[in-house]
Point group: C2
Chain length 367, copies 2
C-alpha cells in the first residue's frame, strides 16, 4: 500500500448496488463516485485552478502523452512536479499515455516490448514501454498513476482484442515492477474490448496483480452505450470490492449515472469542457446549444437550478453574444458551468446512494 493512500467503502445502494466511498491521497480526499475534470496539458482548459477548487473539483486528470511531448516530464519534475507546476494542490491522476499513443500518435510499430510512434505535434519519433510510461509518470508526480495498456479500437476482431489484452496484462506486470515512488498509487487497466469472456479474463488477471485500484479501459470508444453497459455488467461482480473502480473516458450525464449503478467509483471525460468551447451547455433541462437564435433574447441563466458563478450572474443572451463575438469569456463561463453541473450531478448521485434511491434518481437524468 502506498503511503498516505486508502479507499474506504462507506455504503452500497440497496436499489442498485452503487458504491459510496472515500479515497484518501497525500493531496487530500475524494468523495466517490467522483468525476475528474480533464487538464490534458496541465490546465483544465479555460479555468483558473482557484475557480476549479471553488466549484468543488476534488481531483483532476492530466495526460502523460501530452506532457511528455510538451513541456516534457523533466521540466515538470524541475518545477517540483505537476501540482506545483500547474498550481493545483489537490489530487491529480495521470493516465499512462497508452490511449493517446494509439489514438493521436502515428503508431509505427507495436511489439511486446513497447510502441514506437510519431508525435502529433511535430512528427518526431518516440518509443514508449511500460517502464518508460512509469518513469514519465514518476517525473510528473501525480497522486494516482496508470499502468501502460494497449487499447483496442472499436470495432476490433476477437483475435486482435485478445492479443492486445494479453499484452496489456504483461505490461501491467512490468509497470508494477518498475514503479518505485511510494507516494503514488498505481492502477491496473482491464481491457478485453466488447467480448464478455475476455473482459472477465482481464478482470481476473488485473485483480490478481493487486493494484491499488482497477480501471476499465477500452470502453466509450465508439460503441453503443448499451454495449458499454453490458460489458460493465459482465465484470461487475468480479471487480475487487475493496478497491476503487475507475471507468476511463466516460462523462456524459447518463453514462455517469449508469456507470455508478454498475459499480464504478471514478470517471473522467473531456465532454463538459470540450462541449463548453463549442457553446454547448449541459443543463438540468437538457443540452443547450447557446449559439442558437432561440437564446438571443433569453435573459434567464443557462440553468435556472444551477448555483455556479455563470448562472448566478449572466444570461443565456449575454453568453450567446460572447459566442457570436468570439469572446474568450464564453468558453470561461460555459466551461465553469458545465463542470459545476457535472460535479453537482455527482453530488446528487452520492446523496441518492446514501438514501438508497439511485435507481429512481437515474430516471430523472434523461440525456
Amino acid at each position: 500500500m502506498p503511503n498516505g493512500f486508502s479507499f474506504k467503502l462507506l455504503k452500497e445502494c440497496r436499489q442498485t448496488g452503487a458504491r459510496l466511498g472515500v479515497l484518501t491521497t497525500p493531496h487530500g480526499i475524494i468523495k466517490t463516485p467522483c468525476f475528474m475534470p480533464v487538464g490534458t496539458q496541465a490546465t483544465v482548459k479555460a479555468v483558473m485552478p482557484k475557480d476549479l477548487a471553488d466549484i468543488g473539483a476534488e481531483i483532476i486528470l492530466s495526460n502523460t502523452y501530452h506532457l511528455y511531448l510538451r513541456p516534457g516530464d523533466a521540466l515538470v519534475r524541475s518545477a517540483g512536479g505537476l501540482h506545483s507546476f500547474m498550481s493545483w494542490d489537490r489530487p491529480i491522476l495521470t493516465d499512462s499515455g497508452g490511449f493517446q499513443v494509439f489514438s493521436l500518435g502515428d503508431t509505427n510499430r507495436i511489439t511486446d516490448d513497447g510502441v514506437e510512434f510519431r508525435s502529433h505535434l511535430d512528427g518526431s519519433k518516440h518509443y514508449f514501454t511500460p517502464e518508460k510510461a512509469i518513469e514519465i509518470q514518476e517525473n510528473l508526480g501525480a497522486d494516482i498513476i496508470m499502468a501502460f495498456d494497449e487499447c483496442a479500437p472499436y470495432p476490433a476482431s476477437r483475435e486482435y482484442t485478445e492479443q492486445a489484452m494479453k499484452r496489456t496484462h504483461e505490461w501491467a506486470k512490468r509497470c508494477k515492477t518498475a514503479h518505485k515512488r511510494d507516494d503514488q498509487a498505481l492502477f491496473g487497466i482491464i481491457q478485453g474490448g466488447m467480448y464478455k469472456d475476455l473482459r472477465l479474463e482481464s478482470t481476473k488477471a488485473i485483480t490478481d496483480m493487486d493494484f491499488f485500484g482497477v480501471a476499465v479501459g477500452g470502453l466509450s470508444v465508439g460503441e453503443p452505450k448499451e454495449l458499454m453497459y453490458e460489458m460493465l455488467e459482465a465484470i461487475r461482480d468480479e471487480l475487487p470490492k475493496e478497491k476503487p473502480h475507475y471507468l476511463m473516458g466516460v462523462g456524459s450525464p447518463d453514462c455517469l449515472v449508469n456507470g455508478v449503478m454498475r459499480g464504478i467509483d471514478m470517471f473522467d471525460c473531456v465532454l463538459p469542457t470540450r462541449a463548453a468551447r463549442n457553446g454547448l451547455a449541459l443543463t438540468s433541462t437538457g443540452r443547450k446549444m447557446l449559439r442558437n437564435a432561440e437564446y438571443k433574447n433569453d435573459f434567464s441563466p443557462i440553468d435556472e437550478s444551477c448555483d455556479c458563478y455563470a448562472c448566478r450572474n449572466f444570461t443565456a443572451a449575454y453568453i450567446r453574444h460572447l459566442i457570436k463575438a468570439e469572446e474568450i469569456l464564453a468558453a470561461q463561463l460555459i466551461t465553469l458551468h458545465n463542470l459545476k453541473f457535472t460535479l453537482n450531478l455527482m453530488e446528487r448521485i452520492r446523496e441518492a446512494i446514501l438514501s438508497d434511491s439511485l435507481a429512481d434518481f437515474a430516471l430523472s437524468v434523461t440525456y
Copy 2:
C-alpha cells in the same frame, strides 16, 4: 449637473502639477488618475468581472460602435443596460463610436450631418449622427458617455484637421442638446490634430460648452510620443480645472505617467489586454515576451514584485508552456497580471502625487 455625479480635486502635485481626485458616479467612485480596462464587446477579454473587481478596476470602457453592431443597443437595453447585461456593477464609460467608425468601418461619406459607413463585420450600411450616437449610448446606459467626434488621422493636413475639428465642435453641441438621461455624464472631446493653435481653439470651444468632463481625442494615433506630450502641454493650462480630463486611447506605462504629469485624470487603452493575448507581460523590470526560450526554465513569477493571482501562483515557465500549447489559460493569467500591473501603477502614481514626488517616481518608469 447629472444626478449622482461629482468630481472633486483633492490635491495637485507640487513637483508636476499632476492632479489627485475622486470622480463619483451612480455606480460608485473612481480614484483619479485612473486607468480604464477596455471591454470592447461588453467583456474585458479573458477576464471574469469578479476577477476584474478583485484586482481593483473601478471603471471600465466599452465600445459603442461594436455594441451597436453586435448584439445591438436595443438588446442591451432590453437586458437592463450594459451593467446588467455584462454583470459589472461598477462604473462604465462608453465611447461615442466616432473613432471606430473612422478606423474600423468602411467610411462612405462624411457630411456635416453625419457619417455613412459599412460594418467591419458584414459590410452592411449604417449611418451615425451625433443624435444617433447619443441615442445608442442612452440605450447602452453607461455612467459616462462621449460626444460624437471626427478624429483626424495622423498625419493630416492642417486644412483637413481644422475641418474635422470644427465639425467635432458642431457635433458636440448637437450631442449636448440630444442627451436627455440625467443619470449619465456627457464628456466633450477636444480635437485639433498635431496643431497647437487648433488644439487651443478646440480646448476653448469644448470648455465653453460646459460638459461634465473634457476628453482629449486624436492623440496616440501613430505620432511620436514627444509630439503627443507637446500637444498636452499646449492645452494643459487651458483645461477646465474643476472638471475631469480624459486622454483617450493611452495606456503604456510611460505614457500614463507622462499624461498624469500633464494634467490628465483618466486613461483607457487595449495595450495591457491585447499584449497579454500576444504573450507579452508588463513588469516592474520591463516587458517580457513570455513565449521566448529564455523563460523555458524560469521558475520565478512573471513579476517578483506583483501580488496578482498569476504572480502569486504560477511561474514564467508554466505560462510559457501554456502559450506554446495554445491554452486559453495563458491569456487569462497574463491579462489579469497586465491589468493588475497597470492598476498598481496608477495606485503608485496617486501615492506619488500625494507625497509630491511624481517627477521622481516617473524616472523609475522606464518603458
